[in-house]
């Protein structure tokens, strides 16, 4: 009996009126876990019942604890008829199972009903007593921590990064069970919600087991997705990166000098002082060329027979891995280091990492984007062999993998193999920023995977490696080196010190600000035509002219100017079809779509005068009669890469004079736009002599790094040469109306209004001084195409306008936050029905200080101290701020009329809440004195100096106190919970991760018009989802959700029947954060602040 779950129902409030006669409610509560149910007494005639129940105790296996949610149902007692359900609360108790996360769940939860939405609130207390279980064969994986964050969480350091973990679970969808015909929509929705909750619990537990097997203790970059396959079932799948994380304790954190010093070390080479001024311009040096597309149509993109599928999916297990790579690589390996890493990674089936940003020194080289897509028919799983087994409550698909070739596991395996071989072709042994997605329409499913091929440093992956170095000084330095996710941002990166890098076998140390740009593949054996130059930063190694990646920009990268969001948008009509025909049609369209998206991206990149893309995400969604493609990325100018050339327009028929004029007009427009963009994004690269080094390929060509394939079967890499054949990408040829449209769409991309920046990555390159303004939002739009005979162009324009208008709308709505940046601006497209296009976006708007941004930028450029600045600036500058703090932290400053800045002052109150000097060590008390001093300067209220015994007690105590004080300050009982899709909140430090939030909700209505139509319905639902997420976080004791994302938003409507249904899946990490200004009350030992901060809250 490994665990005892205890729950107590305290009270309810704002309950709905259930008895029309009395206008009151006789409410009681059922508490259910597994198969055990308890009930409270009926609290008669009240809308604010006080049950104050006993502790309901459930004695359960920890396996169940992981899988099952605690289910709380509020009902209205009815003497004569059946009791009416008011609503439910599902509480995921997983956060209580980890010793480091939350210890109690306590708070007000919205009571949710799938038909009526939120109906009042209920106050619940939940605790878990875990008994130690040393059984080696246990099925549970309690204690493994999960993080949605795709970087090393901020208060941990990665001792080891083990690698890729994946799992999937399949079940029948209750919505499609026969019983659904006779049960109410509510019962059906609840069955579905409960099932998905169970399945995600199970999935998490299984992944946890894999992590334990690998020797890890956490999963970072955990990405869980649902595939609603309709008739054929429900798939819940997840991928993540297994790590061994160590909590940063005071002693292990680097001392402040250590965190400042590297900034000197990484000083940018003074290339601007280059004695030779630039003589040739880096402008359009390429002749006019026509574009051709080297994709060979003979390659089969149609579905192959299942037998060949099987072949492929089974290959990897028999170790095609290393053998294949040796053959592919052929040429001499570049460094010993690579060999080392290679061997470390080869041992893994898939050297994939879902992380998008890395500890310094981890990422050595980046090859480029690798992606693979595959079209599958879902009806395949209607297999007689499965008929019997699928009636089990929960069916683990994996267990059938052996005798069932066409399983989803095999499908994914196949795709991953492809990704792996693409990466290898780029001379890389690993894939970072890896993600997987699906798009389903009827029985056709497109599986996609993408990532960035990379060369990684082995030290994080193999413990053995650590012992391999004889240099004792290195060994001694290792703890600091490995402190990956530390807030301090240790910059003790090995390549800075020559001796250590030499010890590692690196031929040449690469400065971290450009090292990742250097080509990982062999120059003499380039896997694709490329145009290489010597790095413009260090001048020692070769770099490509354009770099596409799916990861965040490395913090230490040197950039020029600011970044911006770039989107390529595309629609393609297709004929309605069924089954194989449909799948084939889609397969045939895919390569053309990718090609075109890529061309658009490339052109838009040039138009901005930039040379690299980060966070590239290409989504292709399938509908009945069209495919929609959307690629988003953040463009930047990497100082290390060459200046991009312009765009030239060429006409096909040069005879006509008016035509010529037209073309030159356009050319002028384009040139103007480029010039304007350069100014707008402050892209003023220092002029340098362009040294084009002889590439082994006869003609220098536009280089493309998009490796992809659509094959389902062949294990040959279907490389699409996206480099426009032998022609140059800078040249756009107007030979038909299509091209004119293309150019038009290029130019119609309106830049963000003044004061706005946008990006789809975590941080905006070039902006370093965030202020406290923070507004997370979700926006959804559905567009109905009523015109039956649309052309591709027409459709493209509509889609393009849809996205552009959405962006414009966002800018307009958030105008009061200027200057601000929309971060993590990721669009999701779907084609929910025949003539509908749905676009959903979740992002965060963050304010920054414009003037300081300038200064800091200079400061930052001096130090090349990128990431550090975001986090360190506050603490570095703290002494200065001490005196001027009050005005700057005042969130209610009248100039910000919107009140988006949530009460920063609220946090000022808890600071001095309990201060007992007596039992503190001297330095602590002096530190606290300082805090107190500061508190006095800021706080408006009175200082309560209570001498409490708990002051040194563990966090929960302090936390609850802090929340209480926040409440009293705010004059309300609701604690403020911030939400952000980023992994951090500017100006704050995350002091504790409380567990993963992973929630799935269904909302349905049969009175659509009465609820304000589809918009009213969805608006209310999204607001409710936010409310429930916030309530759960607050109940865990947290005050923010980071890495928040809305992974699914499936909306269906039937206006004729006045009905609509929507499914939303959200996830994120619940955290406790504190303002840097509070924590860093003293510039002195910052590491004490971590624990000290907890004490004083």
């Amino acid at each position: 009996m490994p665990g005892k779950l205890k729950a107590k129902i305290v009270a309810g409030r704002h309950l709905p009126v259930m008895d029309r006669a009395s206008d009151l409610t006789d409410a009681f509560v059922e508490v259910k876990f597994g198969n055990t149910t308890f009930k409270t007494d009926v609290y008669p005639k009240s809308l604010n019942p006080q049950w104050n129940s006993e502790w309901f105790k459930f004695e359960v296996d920890d396996e169940d604890l992981q899988d099952e949610p605690l289910q709380i149902t509020v009902l209205d007692h009815d003497t004569y008829s059946a009791n009416d359900a008011i609503g439910k609360v599902y509480i995921d108790i997983d956060p209580l199972l980890s010793s480091e996360a939350a210890t109690v769940i306590s708070g007000w939860f919205p009571i949710y009903d799938t038909i009526h939405g939120i109906r009042g609130e209920i106050n619940v207390l939940v605790k878990v007593d875990l008994f130690n279980d040393l059984n080696r064969f246990r099925q549970s994986s309690c204690g493994v921590k999960f993080f949605c964050t795709t970087s090393i969480p901020r208060c941990y350091r990665a001792a080891m990064v083990h690698g890729f973990v994946e799992e999937l679970v399949v079940n029948e969808d209750p919505e499609y069970q026969w019983i659904d015909r006779i049960r109410t929509p509510r019962a059906s929705n609840e069955a579905r919600q409960r099932l998905i909750s169970l399945m995600s619990g199970e999935l998490q537990r299984k992944i946890g087991l894999k992590v334990l097997e690998m020797g890890g203790n956490a999963v970072v970059g955990y990405l869980q997705c649902f595939d609603l396959e309709g008739e054929s079932g429900l798939v819940v799948r997840a991928i993540g990166t297994a790590c061994t994380l160590e909590k940063l304790s005071n002693s292990s954190a680097a001392a402040p000098p250590a965190c400042n010093s590297p900034s000197k070390d990484i000083k940018e080479p003074p290339f601007s002082e280059d004695p030779n001024p630039n003589t040739h311009s880096s402008g359009p040096s390429t002749p006019l060329k026509t574009q051709t597309y080297s994709f060979s149509p003979s390659k089969s993109y149609s579905r192959q027979s299942s037998s060949s599928d099987t072949d492929l999916s089974l290959t990897p297990k028999t170790g095609m891995g290393s053998g294949g790579s040796a053959g592919k690589e052929g040429g001499p390996l570049k460094t010993l280091l690579r060999q080392q890493t290679q061997s470390a990674l080869e041992q893994r089936e898939f050297p994939f990492f879902t992380l998008t940003s890395f500890p310094p020194g981890f990422l050595i080289h980046v090859g480029g984007v690798v992606s693979a897509r595959s079209v599958k028919l879902l009806d395949r799983i209607h297999n007689p062999a499965l008929g019997n087994t699928r009636s089990y409550k929960l069916l683990d698909w994996n267990s059938f993998a052996a005798d069932e070739p066409e399983t989803r596991d095999a499908w994914w395996e196949e795709i991953r193999q492809e990704i792996k071989s693409h990466a290898r072709a780029l001379g890389c042994h690993a894939v970072v920023g890896y993600s997987e997605s699906t798009s389903i329409c009827e029985e056709v499913c497109i599986l996609s995977a993408s990532g960035t091929a990379a060369v990684l440093h082995p030290k994080f992956m193999q413990e053995g490696c650590l012992d391999g170095y004889s240099d004792p000084s290195r060994l001694s330095r290792q703890p600091a080196t490995f402190s990956a996710g530390s807030e301090k941002g240790e910059f003790d990166i090995f390549p800075q010190s020559k001796d250590s890098s030499a010890a590692l076998g690196l031929e040449e140390p690469s400065p971290p600000s450009c090292g990742f740009c250097h080509i990982p593949y062999d120059e003499l054996n380039i896997p694709f035509p490329a145009h290489l130059t010597y790095c413009y930063h260090c001048r020692r190694q070769k770099v490509p002219d354009v770099l596409f990646t799916t990861i965040d920009m490395p913090a230490e990268a040197a950039v020029t100017g600011k970044g911006c969001l770039i989107q390529a948008r595309l629609c393609r009509l297709k004929k309605k079809a069924q089954g194989e025909v449909n799948a084939t049609a889609i397969s045939n369209l895919l390569p053309f779509m990718e090609y075109e998206l890529h061309t658009q991206l490339m052109n838009k990149l040039k138009l901005r005068g930039m040379n690299a893309l980060f966070g590239l995400r290409i989504q292709i969604s399938v509908g009945e009669n069209m495919l929609v493609g959307l690629a988003s990325a953040t463009a930047v100018y990497l100082t290390a890469l060459p200046t991009p050339g312009g765009i030239q327009i060429a006409g096909k028929t040069p005879s006509d004079i008016t035509y010529e004029q037209h073309i030159s007009n356009m050319q002028k427009k384009i040139n103007d736009t480029i010039a304007k963009n350069k100014e707008l994004y402050e892209v003023n690269p220092p002029e340098v002599i362009e040294e084009v080094i002889g590439s082994p390929i006869p003609e220098p060509r536009q280089r493309s790094r998009l490796f992809r394939s659509h094959s389902e079967s062949s294990d040959e890499v279907s490389e699409l040469d996206l480099s426009h054949g032998k022609k140059d990408a800078f040249v756009l040829e107007i030979d038909d109306t299509d091209a004119v449209e293309d150019i038009h769409s290029l130019l119609t991309d309106t830049p963000a209004p003044a004061g706005f920046y946008s990006c789809n990555t975590e941080i905006m390159p070039g902006i370093y001084n965030w202020t406290s303004g923070l507004q997370m939002f979700t926006s959804v739009r559905v567009f109905r195409l009523s015109n039956a005979n649309l052309t591709n162009q027409g459709l493209n324009k509509i889609f393009n306008d849809l996205c552009e208008n959405l962006l414009k709308s966002l800018y307009f709505k958030l105008r009061s936050m200027i200057p601000c940046c929309l971060c993590h601006l990721n669009f999701t497209v779907a084609v929910p029905e025949d003539e509908l296009i749905q676009v959903a976006v979740t992002a965060v708007a963050m304010t920054f200080d414009k003037d300081q941004a300038q200064e800091n930028w200079k400061l930052g450029a001096d130090k090349t101290h990128m990431k550090a600045i975001v986090e360190n600036e506050e603490q570095l500058q703290f002494p200065l701020e001490l005196c001027t703090e009050s005005p700057s932290t005042n969130p209610f400053s009248p100039c910000r009329g919107t009140g988006l800045q949530e009460s920063a002052n609220a946090h000022a109150t808890p600071r001095a809440a309990s201060v007992d000097y007596s039992s503190f060590a001297d330095r602590w008390s002096s530190w606290i004195e300082l805090i107190r001093l500061k508190a006095q300067t800021i706080r408006r209220g009175s200082i309560k100096t209570t001498s409490s015994l708990e002051k040194a007690s563990p966090l929960p105590e302090g936390r609850s106190r802090s929340l209480r004080s926040t409440r009293s300050y705010a004059g309300s009982t609701v604690a403020v919970v911030k939400m952000t899709p980023l992994s951090f909140i500017p100006g704050t430090r995350i002091i504790k991760y409380l567990g993963i939030i992973n929630m799935f909700f269904i909302r349905e209505t049969t009175s659509l018009r009465e609820e304000g139509g589809v918009s009213g319905f969805l608006h209310a639902f999204i607001a409710e989802v936010f409310a429930m997420v916030r309530a759960h976080v607050a109940a865990l004791g947290g005050n923010a959700v980071v890495s928040y994302s809305m992974k699914e938003c499936v909306f269906m409507e039937n206006p004729n029947k006045n009905q609509a249904q929507c499914l939303i899946n959200v996830s994120g990490d619940a955290v406790i954060f504190m303002r840097e200004s509070e924590l860093e009350a003293t510039p002195a030992p910052p590491q004490t602040s971590c624990s000290g901060g907890e004490v004083t809250t």
């Binding site: 919205p110 959804v780 559905v782 109905r784 009523s786 608006h1019 409310a1027 916030r1030």
Partner: protein
């Protein structure tokens, strides 16, 4: 081809005070967009009408969802659906309960019944305020009235406590509640020149000095009703006009005090007995509920109009009333000085407030 669905939801409620005002004023989305366009919102931020429409729709929807919390403002602070910073909550509530004085003037003293609500279209037509806004304001009146009519303690504080309003707005509501409860006649043609603020001032005077709560403000007071005992005691003032000697003595005292100080001395001297009779008669009649309702019309007809026809200046009236009140203390046989001062204090302030064109 159309936008089927278009929503924007922020984690912290995003709202534009200007749009909130348009919503409160009862405009349709179309009208609101037009007004915003005219207001030049697009000049400060480049955007199209489409964008403006979408933004307006979003905000109107948000306000609509929020409205049920605004009906019970204390709920707004502990509801979970919207995350709203406290100062924004206060703004939302204050604006929601703010009313047009033109509307309030129309409704003043009327019974807040269904019948009155039905006639709101007339009010709307007369005041130019949209019917929707009229309904909201009416419902607010009624809600506040219902909540505090039975409550003990100071009226303004009760309103403030229940509806979290600013001091000023709570005072105005107190006036509305007070008038609705006592049903003072305010609709007569002769009273049309008086504004809501005039009446609100008078109401504050009445609440402060003539209600039960005014006597012992701490305890058990009911601010809504006039103190019965006091009204009954006012009968005793009759002696001022019935006792001829006293009336004459009063007159001579007043005349002595005012001689040379006011321009209309002669008119005053000639009219003194009428004026004094008018003021005392109003007091004496206040025992009857019906006459209480007519308090303001009586003041206008019996006192203000005669003075106005004689072209008294406000300063003259002030001097007259001041001395008229104070000289009563010098009357040998007049004993009801406490009642007299309590009565005249209020009547004087009311008359001064009401004496304008």
């Amino acid at each position: 081809m159309s936008m089927e669905l278009d929503v924007f939801v922020g984690n912290t409620m995003l709202l534009d005070e200007e749009v909130y005002k348009l919503w409160l004023d009862g405009y349709t989305v179309g009208d609101a967009v037009r007004l915003r366009l005219e207001g030049g919102v697009l000049q400060e931020c480049e955007a199209s009408e489409e964008v403006l429409h979408s933004d307006t729709m979003d905000q109107f929807r948000t306000f609509q969802m929020c409205e049920r919390f605004l009906h019970c403002p204390s709920k707004l602070a502990n509801q979970l659906l919207f995350q709203i910073p406290p100062h924004r909550q206060a703004m939302l509530i204050e604006r929601y309960y703010m009313f047009d004085s033109g509307f309030a003037r129309e409704l003043l003293g009327k019974k807040l019944s269904k019948g009155t609500k039905k006639d709101l279209d007339d009010v709307s037509a007369k005041t130019g305020i949209t019917l929707k806004s009229c309904r909201r304001q009416f419902d607010n009146f009624k809600r506040v009235f219902k909540a505090v009519e039975e409550l003990k303690g100071p009226l303004v504080e009760n309103i403030q406590h229940h509806f979290l309003l600013s001091d000023r707005l709570a005072r105005d509501y107190a006036a509305v509640v007070f008038f609705a409860n006592s049903r003072f006649e305010t609709g007569k043609r002769k009273l049309q020149y008086l504004s809501f603020q005039d009446f609100a001032f008078c109401a504050r005077q009445l609440i402060s000095y003539w209600t039960v709560g005014s006597v012992d403000s701490m305890l058990e007071g009911m601010d809504v009703d006039l103190e019965k005992e006091f009204l009954h005691d006012l009968k005793d003032l009759k002696i001022l006009i019935t006792d001829k000697d006293m009336l004459d003595q009063h007159k001579s005292l007043v005349c002595a005090a005012l001689r040379g100080k006011i321009k209309v001395f002669n008119e005053m001297e000639g009219n003194f007995k009428n004026l004094s009779r008018a003021l005392v008669n109003i007091a004496v009649k206040l025992t009857h509920t019906k006459d209480v309702r007519d308090l303001f019309i009586d003041l206008v007809e019996k006192f203000i109009e005669p003075c106005r026809s004689d072209r008294w200046a406000v300063g003259d009236i002030r001097l007259f009333l001041t001395h008229y009140t104070s000289t009563a203390h010098k009357l040998d046989t007049f004993r009801h000085l406490v009642i007299w001062d309590r009565y005249m204090g209020v009547v004087k302030s009311c008359i001064l407030k009401m004496y304008h064109d």
